[in-house]
Symmetry: C2
Subunit: 103 residues, 2 copies
């Protein structure tokens, strides 16, 4: 079984490398976490590169600063939909998003 490295798990809020097995996380749940992590990284990269603050981005897409922060923290309460919409707002193309997901 493929495993997330410890950095990824820490980012996602897990405490150790085997929490997935301990909690009985399925491969699908693991994949969803990986995708959220990849998209949140892409979001932060794009935003920083554009010199845009979380507050600015929130205004552009009708969201809130706190939600942007949670997106970039890969908070479990943020949907893939919202992450993808934020990337689109930052000018990402569908191909960009596809690339980000698989990275």
């Amino acid at each position: 079984m493929k495993r997330l490295n410890s950095a990824k798990l820490r980012k996602a809020g897990w405490r150790s490398g085997s929490v997935k097995e301990f909690l009985g996380l399925s491969d699908e749940e693991e994949a969803l976490i990986e995708m959220r992590l990849s998209l949140s990284r892409a979001l932060r990269e794009r935003r920083i590169e554009g010199g845009i603050s979380q507050t600015d981005l929130a205004a552009r897409m009708g969201s809130s600063q706190s939600r942007i922060a949670k997106m970039e923290a890969a908070d479990p309460t943020v949907s893939l939909d919202l992450l993808i919409r934020s990337l689109l707002t930052l000018g990402a193309s569908i191909k960009d998003i596809a690339r980000a997901i698989a990275r």
Copy 2:
């Protein structure tokens, strides 16, 4: 401006090829619709290829037959999260999903 072809728009519930402009759909909204369409097509392909009924798939992922049908119809009320979860349930990898999104 890139335009959805009429088949795609009909699938998404639009009546004519220029509804996007008429309704003032943004490029981001258009991209989201395209992605939902791509994922719903991938879902149907995978499910049919696996010889699995909508009812079976619904049971596997704790959803309902009606929701699967709506997913495959790219109904506006289905989230990308649910589409992606369904593909993962059918054994799709993250790369498979990335490919499906950009197709």
